[in-house]
Amino acid sequence: MSSIATNTGRKIPDQLTSPASRALRSWESLLLLVAVFIFILNSFASPYFLDPWNLSDATFNFTEKAMIAFAMALLIIAGEIDLSVAAIIALASTAMGIVMQAGFGTPVIVLTGLATGLLCGAFNGLMVTRLGLPSIVVTIGTMSLFRGISFIILGDGAFRGYPDSFAVFGQGYAFWVITVEFVIFALLAVIYAVILHRTNFGRAVFAIGNNPTAALFSGIRVARVKMILFLLTGLMSGLAAVCLTSRLGSTRSSIASGMELEVVTMVVLGGVNILGGTGTIGGVVIAAFVMGLVTFGLGLLNVPGIVMSIFIGLLLIGVIALPRLWSRLRGA
């Protein structure tokens, strides 16, 4: 704690050893506490909350967003961001609609969705790593570009008539009340946790986020790692497009509009530092549950959506402000 007290004011780039990171790590347990608390509160507030089928329905509130949030967490930890994810969903879904109309079956539709996501991710990645453009600018641009293409193709029309077998992704159940989407979410959580916390690649992501120059001089291929992260985010958006399109059973150019901010909210709520360098997949998983539980719980009480947004906003500001307040209080 004394490091803050004696700090002369210069910002320490490597936050892994700073007190703030310790506060962040405890934030995760705090968030878990909030999640448990909201869960208990909800079960008292509404007699309908503790119904397994209802909770199963509630998971749809976050599963698709969380799929993207995992990849986004890695990207943000590495100091980049992708705001085009919702637009990628729109474009991927439109591409899926086109191959569906051409008469292709479920496997081709799914592959098209994933491939479109991957291509969009590659485009973002190339712009950032090859041209050296800031990712926030690039992806604000591609956000309009990707959705714009989708809008040109669809206008105010819609693709409908997806094959019945395609419905399994967004409407199917793996077993009992556990949805296919939830299984995908859980598997991805494990995979991303391993990638980030147990592999050299994950170490490289942290290193880049803390100090890209130092990372480069330590022999980390920064551009390559970033490229892979953009590809992953694109791929996850493609996957989310498959699930969402399957759940809606149709494609419209307005699909998933505004979702990028909810994904970023989930990541930041999960304790990932928006400036890069720190964060955990576990935090994002808990944040997904918190957001899902809050929106569903308040929904059960018919609280207007705007009040839910206020609540999520307060939570988010809390997360960002807390570590700072914490270290300031400790330092004082």
Binding site: L41, D57, A167, S254, G258, G299, L300, N302, G305, V307
Partner: protein, 330 residues
């Protein structure tokens, strides 16, 4: 520890405060808007409450997403399914995307009707249109003719040549021209639903037909522009502008006298009728099938067509007697 306490307190307040008991025996009808905070839907909710009061033992849950998105409405529907409401009456943000979720609602025994903006047939039991093309076509010429007891010349200001709705309404209007002897349609112009082009076309219409008595604009953009053109040409009292418009935008034209009256659906009646429809279907008094007659309280009875949809009534007429009441609503 202070912080933890504070945060959890916020959570407690947000959820806890909203907890409220509802009489379990009441029938719960959810009225779902495209988005909350839109005057039109708030007015519809008022109508729904009116219906609930009239029916008794009905609780209205008025809800909707923050933005007009299908995804937002699906979250709302999921929470309504979870609450096991008896009926859902929804104005849909997306004809198709809501179908899987609403199907699930129906599988779990919830009565689903759509109103205003419909859901594809698979996703609802019945749909209530605010009006029908025939009724609209008749209404727009009737409004003009009522002001012209001795007959006269009317001009049409439409949207684009390819606007489906406007073309159908005008076609329906032409079919009933025989009921209005002495009224002659002298020309049709197209303002493309652009304010400035509509304004110029209305000016042109008045110049090429100096004896013009009325302009009918079955588009909310055109009617406002035409009224402005009449005011600017100093022809208030000579040329009456009518058609379909929004009370909030037409209040000025009614006040200036450029427009004696115009029509559009009444959201209060719509919310009222949708609630009535949902109630009678949920009670099992009527089955939603083509040809079924469903009572909708003070609005009379509607008959379902082959797609299980029905028009509510004639478009509602707005004039100086009621414009003030509605101009703040939508």
């Amino acid at each position: 520890m202070n912080r933890i306490l504070q945060l959890t307190m916020t959570a407690a307040m947000a959820t806890g405060l909203m907890a409220q008991g509802a009489a379990a025996e009441d029938m719960r009808i959810a009225v779902v808007a495209k988005a909350l905070g839109i005057g039109f839907f708030e007015a519809a909710a008022k109508g729904a409450e009116e219906a609930a009061e009239e029916l008794g033992e009905v609780e209205i849950i008025y809800t909707g997403p923050t933005d007009t998105t299908a995804e937002g409405q699906i979250e709302v529907i999921n929470s309504l399914i979870a609450q096991r409401v008896d009926a859902i009456a929804i104005s849909a943000n997306d004809t198709d995307a809501l179908v899987p979720t609403l199907k699930k609602a129906m599988q779990r025994g919830i009565t689903v009707v759509s109103w205003d903006s419909g859901v594809a047939e698979d996703g609802r039991m019945a749909h209530l249109n605010p009006s029908s093309n025939e009724l609209i076509g008749n209404m727009i010429i009737k409004l003009a003719a009522d002001e012209l007891p001795d007959g006269g010349q009317v001009g049409l200001l439409s949207a684009t040549t390819t606007s489906t709705n406007q073309n159908i309404w005008i076609e329906e209007m032409m079919k009933v021209m025989g009921d209005y002897p002495g009224i002659e349609v002298v020309g049709t112009v197209y303002g493309d639903d652009l304010a400035d082009k509509s304004y110029r076309e209305a000016q042109g219409l008045m110049q090429s037909h100096p004896d013009l008595d009325a302009i009918i604009a079955p588009t909310s953009v055109g009617i406002v522009a035409a009224a402005q053109a009449v005011v600017d040409a100093g022809k208030v009292g000579e040329v009456n502008v009518t058609g379909l418009g929004l009370p909030s935008e037409m209040a000025g034209a009614i006040e200036s006298g450029a427009s004696k009256s115009f029509a559009i659906w009444n959201p209060i009646d719509l919310g009222y009728s949708a609630t009535m429809m949902a109630y009678h279907l949920a009670k099992g008094e009527v089955e939603a099938a083509p040809g079924a007659e469903i009572p909708i309280g003070r609005m009379g009875t509607v008959t379902l067509d082959e797609t299980n949809s029905a028009p509510m009534a004639d478009p509602f007429v707005y004039d100086e007697s009621n414009i003030d009441e509605f101009k703040s609503i939508f």
